[in-house]
C-alpha cells in the first residue's frame, strides 16, 4: 500500500540513498511520468496560443532553474542572467551557421560555451559576495550587451543573427506543434539533471556554501571551486534556454537581453521559491502567465462601452503593467518562500487531513 500514497505515514527512510531519491515514492514518480505524458498531449487539445505559452515557459524555465541553482542553492547573486541567456542564443546560432553542427547539438554546445563565459565572469565571485558581487554581475550584463552590439563576426551586430530551425533526422521543425516537443524534451532533461545535481555531492556543497561559508570551509569544501562551479552551471542553463529561444524565433537581436529580463528572471525564482527546483518552474509559469491573464482581463472589459475610449484603454494598459510589480511585492510580503512552499503546505494539509497537526 505504501507505494500508492504520496508519502507513507511516518518516515521510514533509513539510508542516505533513500533520503536523496529524486521522487519520494513510486507514486510520485509515476505521477510525474503521467504528468509529462499529459503535457505532451497539449498540442492535440489546445490551440496555438497555449502551445506558444508552453514554449515560452520552457525556455524561460530552463534559464530560471540555472539562476535558482546560483541564487537559491549557492547563495550567490546574479543581475546578469539575461546576458548569458542572450549569449547562448547567439552562440548556438553561430555554431550552427559556421560549423554546420545540427541545431539539436549546437544547443547544448552553446550551453557549454556560455558556461565558459559564465566561469570567466564568475571569477570575482570566488573573492567577493553580497552587494559587491551583485555589481560585478551587473557589469557582466553591460559588457555582454555591448559585446552583442559590437561583435559583428559573432552576433551580426545591430543587424542580429539568423538562427536556423531545429532539424531532426532531415525533418525541419518549423511549426510550433513540433517545436513544442523539442522544448518538452529539453525541459524534462534539464529539470531531471537539475534535480539530480542538487542531491549529489556537489549540490550539497552548494547548499553548504550558501548556509554558512565558514562552516563549509571547515568541513573541507573548497569555496572558490564551488562558487565558480555554480556560476558555470547557472550559465550553462541560461545558455541552453537562450539557444532554444533563438532557434524558436529564427532570429536573434541584441535588443532582447536587457537588465529588465535579468530582473524578470530574479522575479521568477523569488515568486517560485528560492532553492527549489520545482519552484523555478512554478515561478516561470506564474511570470509568463500573469501578463496574459491581465491582458485577457483588460480585453474582457471591452464589452462595456465605457471601456472602449482611448483614455480608459490606455489607463488599463498602465494598470496591467503595474499589476506585475504589485504581484511581486505581494509575494515578498505574504509568500516570501514562494509558490513551492505553498505547494508543500497544500500537500501537507491533505496528507494530514483531517488532523492538521
Amino acid at each position: 500500500m505504501a507505494g500508492f500514497s504520496m508519502r507513507p505515514c511516518g518516515d521510514f527512510r533509513t539510508t542516505y540513498r533513500q533520503d536523496t531519491r529524486i521522487f519520494d515514492t513510486t507514486f510520485v514518480r509515476n505521477a510525474a511520468i503521467l504528468g509529462i505524458v499529459a503535457v505532451g498531449l497539449i498540442p492535440f487539445v489546445l490551440d496555438g496560443y497555449y502551445v506558444n505559452l508552453f514554449i515560452q515557459i520552457s525556455y524561460f524555465a530552463i534559464a530560471a532553474l540555472g539562476l535558482n541553482i546560483l541564487v537559491g542553492f549557492t547563495g550567490q547573486i546574479s543581475l546578469g542572467h539575461a546576458a548569458f541567456f542572450g549569449f547562448g542564443a547567439f552562440a548556438s546560432a553561430w555554431i550552427n551557421n559556421h560549423t554546420g553542427i545540427p541545431v539539436l547539438l549546437s544547443i547544448p554546445l552553446a550551453g557549454l560555451v556560455t558556461a565558459a563565459v559564465g566561469l570567466l565572469f564568475g571569477l570575482p565571485a570566488a573573492r567577493i559576495k553580497g552587494l559587491y558581487l551583485a555589481i560585478a554581475t551587473l557589469a557582466a550584463q553591460f559588457i555582454l550587451e555591448d559585446f552583442f552590439a559590437r561583435a559583428d563576426w559573432f552576433t551580426g551586430g545591430s543587424y542580429g543573427a539568423a538562427a536556423n530551425p531545429v532539424n531532426v533526422f532531415g525533418y525541419e521543425v518549423t511549426d510550433d506543434f513540433s517545436f513544442f516537443y523539442v522544448c518538452l524534451f529539453f525541459l524534462v532533461i534539464m529539470y531531471v539533471l537539475g534535480s539530480n545535481l542538487i542531491r549529489s555531492r556537489d549540490g550539497r556543497a552548494f547548499v553548504a556554501v550558501r548556509d554558512h561559508y565558514l562552516s563549509a570551509e571547515i568541513m573541507g569544501i573548497n569555496l572558490t571551486k564551488y562558487r565558480l562551479l555554480s556560476f558555470g552551471v547557472s550559465s550553462f542553463y541560461a545558455g541552453v534556454g537562450g539557444a532554444i529561444y533563438g532557434h524558436y524565433l529564427g532570429y536573434v537581436s541584441a535588443e532582447g537581453f536587457t537588465i529588465l529580463l535579468s530582473i524578470q528572471f530574479l522575479g521568477m525564482i523569488i515568486i517560485g521559491g528560492l532553492g527549489s527546483v520545482k519552484g523555478a518552474l512554478m515561478g516561470t509559469v506564474f511570470m509568463v502567465l500573469l501578463p496574459e491573464v491581465m491582458e485577457t482581463g483588460v480585453s474582457a472589459l471591452s464589452v462595456f462601452d465605457w471601456a472602449n475610449s482611448t483614455a480608459v484603454t490606455d489607463g488599463l494598459a498602465y494598470i496591467k503593467e503595474m499589476a506585475i510589480g504589485l504581484a511581486i511585492i505581494l509575494f515578498l510580503i505574504f509568500e516570501p518562500d514562494g509558490l513551492a512552499h505553498r505547494w508543500q503546505q497544500i500537500r501537507a494539509y491533505w496528507k494530514l487531513y483531517p488532523f492538521s497537526y
Binding site: 505521477a31 510525474a32 511520468i33 503521467l34 504528468g35 509529462i36 499529459a38 503535457v39 497539449i42 489546445l46 490551440d47 496555438g48 496560443y49 497555449y50 506558444n52 505559452l53 508552453f54 515560452q56 524561460f60 555591448d146 552590439a149 559590437r150 551580426g156 551586430g157 545591430s158 543587424y159 542580429g160 543573427a161 539568423a162 518549423t174 511549426d175 510550433d176 524565433l249 529564427g250 532570429y251 537581436s253 541584441a254 535588443e255 532582447g256 520545482k278 518552474l281 512554478m282 509559469v285 509568463v288 502567465l289 501578463p291 496574459e292 491573464v293 491582458e295 485577457t296 480585453s299 474582457a300 475610449s309 482611448t310 484603454t313 490606455d314 494598459a317 496591467k320 503593467e321 505547494w343
Partner: protein, 413 residues
C-alpha cells in the same frame, strides 16, 4: 510535473475567452507600445493607427467587409508580442498586423513569413527592405514586412546629401566633418555604417561614432568630444528625451553643429522641449497637422476626431504616419478582395499591384510609394525640414525634397 498539469488546467479554464467573430469580417492585430521603453512616441503613432482602423470600420470597412481589430500594449516586450501574435493567429484568424518596434518586428519575421501575415511596422531598419535576401549582407529576408516611409539608412543618406549641398552653399572650405551620435543599441546603430559610407562617398570626413546613452542625462563630456572632433554635422540616432539632453548639454558648452535628427527625434514636441536651438534638421514623411491647403488633411482631421471629438487636439507627424501605414494596408486589402479574397498572400500582392500610389483621400499627406516583390523600399524620397526654437517660439521650414537612387547595394542595408 503534476503541478504543470494543474497549472495548464488552470490556464485553460482561466484564460479561455470565447472568440466569437462574424464569419465575413477580417481581423487585424495592432501591437502598440504606450507604457514601455518607447512609449512617449509609441503613443502618438498608436493613436494614429487606432483612429484610422476605427474610422475605416465605421465607414464601410474594406469595400463592405467589416474590419475587426484589437490594440494591445505589449510594452516593448518581445515575449508578449509573440504571445499576442500567436493568439490572434490561432483564435482570430488574423490576416494582417500593424506592428511597432525593432525588437518585436524582427522577432516575428520568420513567423509572419511562414503564416503569410503581412506586417506593417514602424521599425524602419534598412534590413527589412530586402524581401528575397538578394543582398548578401541581409541576415534574414523579410518577405512579409512592410513599412511606410524611408528606411533609417535612406533618411540619413538623404540628410547627408542635403548636408553636402548645404556645406557648399554656405561656402564651407575643406571637408565637412560628420559624426554619428547614439547609443550602442540596434536602433541608433541601424543606419550607422550605411550612412557613414555614403558620407564618405560624398566627401565628408567621418569621425568615430560618439556613444550617448539612450537614457537622458548630462552629456557634456560627449559634447566636448564633438567639439574636439570639429563636427559640422551630427546625426542624432537616439530617441526624444536623450536627444533633448544632448542638444541642451551641447548648447551649454557652446557646441553648435547642424543636428541631423532621425525621424522619431524631430517634431514640434521635441523642439518645444529643447527650448533653444537653431540648425535642427529632420526628415518628415507626411504633411504637418498645421499644413493648410493639403487635400488629404481633411480625412486626417476626420480620423483624428475618432479619439478627440473636439477635433482641436494637436497631432504630431508620427500620428499621421500611423494613418498612412493603415491606409496602404487598407487599399492592398481592397485589391485583394477584388482579386481572389482578403488573405495575407493576396494583401502582399496588393501592395505590389500599383506603382507610385497614394491611398485615396490622403493625397498630399502620404507620399507616393512603390513596393515590388524584389524591393520593399516603399519610399525613396525624403522631405527634409529644419526646426528652430527660441523661447517657446517654434519655426519649422521645409528645406528640400531628396530623392535617392534605388541602388542595389543599398537594398536591405
Amino acid at each position: 510535473m503534476k503541478k504543470l498539469i494543474a497549472a495548464t488546467a488552470m490556464i485553460a479554464t482561466g484564460l479561455s475567452v470565447g472568440a466569437a467573430k462574424a464569419e465575413d469580417s477580417v481581423f487585424v492585430g495592432h501591437l502598440m507600445d504606450i507604457t514601455g521603453a518607447t512609449g512617449f512616441i509609441g503613443k502618438f503613432y498608436a493613436d494614429g493607427v487606432r483612429d484610422a482602423l476605427s474610422y475605416i470600420n465605421e465607414n464601410g470597412g474594406i469595400s463592405g467587409t467589416p474590419l475587426e481589430f484589437e490594440s494591445v500594449d505589449y510594452a516593448y516586450k518581445v515575449p508578449q508580442a509573440i504571445a499576442n501574435y500567436k493568439k490572434w493567429r490561432s483564435r482570430n484568424n488574423m490576416i494582417a498586423m500593424q506592428g511597432w518596434g525593432t525588437g518585436d518586428t524582427e522577432a516575428l519575421i520568420s513567423f509572419v513569413a511562414k503564416d503569410e501575415v503581412p506586417v506593417f511596422s514602424a521599425s524602419y531598419s534598412g534590413h527589412l527592405t530586402d524581401p528575397t535576401g538578394k543582398n548578401p549582407k541581409t541576415a534574414k529576408p523579410a518577405p512579409y514586412n512592410f513599412f511606410y516611409g524611408a528606411s533609417y539608412s535612406d533618411a540619413c543618406r538623404a540628410m547627408v546629401q542635403w548636408a553636402a549641398k548645404d556645406w557648399k552653399d554656405k561656402g564651407g572650405e575643406g571637408k565637412p566633418v560628420f559624426s554619428h551620435i547614439g547609443d550602442n543599441h540596434p536602433y541608433p546603430n541601424a543606419p550607422k555604417e550605411a550612412c557613414a559610407e555614403y558620407a564618405n562617398e560624398l566627401g565628408f570626413e567621418v569621425t568615430s561614432p560618439v556613444v550617448v546613452s539612450m537614457k537622458p542625462g548630462d552629456f557634456k563630456a560627449q559634447c566636448l568630444t564633438l567639439k574636439e572632433a570639429g563636427t559640422d554635422y551630427g546625426y542624432l540616432g537616439n530617441l526624444g528625451p536623450s536627444v533633448v539632453s544632448l542638444v541642451k548639454s551641447c548648447g551649454t558648452v557652446g557646441v553648435d553643429p547642424t543636428w541631423l535628427a532621425n525621424i522619431w527625434a524631430g517634431d514640434y514636441e521635441t523642439l518645444k522641449t529643447i527650448g533653444d536651438v537653431d540648425n535642427y534638421v529632420f526628415p518628415v514623411m507626411t504633411s504637418f497637422w498645421t499644413d493648410e491647403g493639403v487635400p488629404g488633411m481633411d480625412l486626417v482631421r476626420k480620423i483624428s476626431m475618432e479619439s478627440d471629438k473636439s477635433g482641436k487636439e494637436f497631432r504630431t507627424h508620427h500620428y499621421i504616419r500611423g494613418i498612412c501605414s493603415v491606409y496602404y494596408m487598407k487599399e492592398a486589402m481592397e485589391w485583394a478582395k477584388e482579386n481572389g479574397g482578403i488573405t495575407g498572400a493576396n494583401i502582399k500582392k496588393g501592395m505590389y499591384a500599383r506603382t507610385d500610389w497614394v491611398p485615396k483621400g490622403l493625397e498630399g499627406v502620404c507620399m507616393p510609394a512603390t513596393w515590388t516583390a524584389e524591393d520593399h523600399r516603399g519610399i525613396n524620397t525624403v522631405n527634409i525640414y529644419s526646426g528652430e526654437a527660441h523661447g517657446g517660439d517654434i519655426k519649422v521650414t521645409k528645406l528640400e525634397t531628396v530623392t535617392l537612387p534605388r541602388r542595389d547595394d543599398w537594398l536591405g542595408y
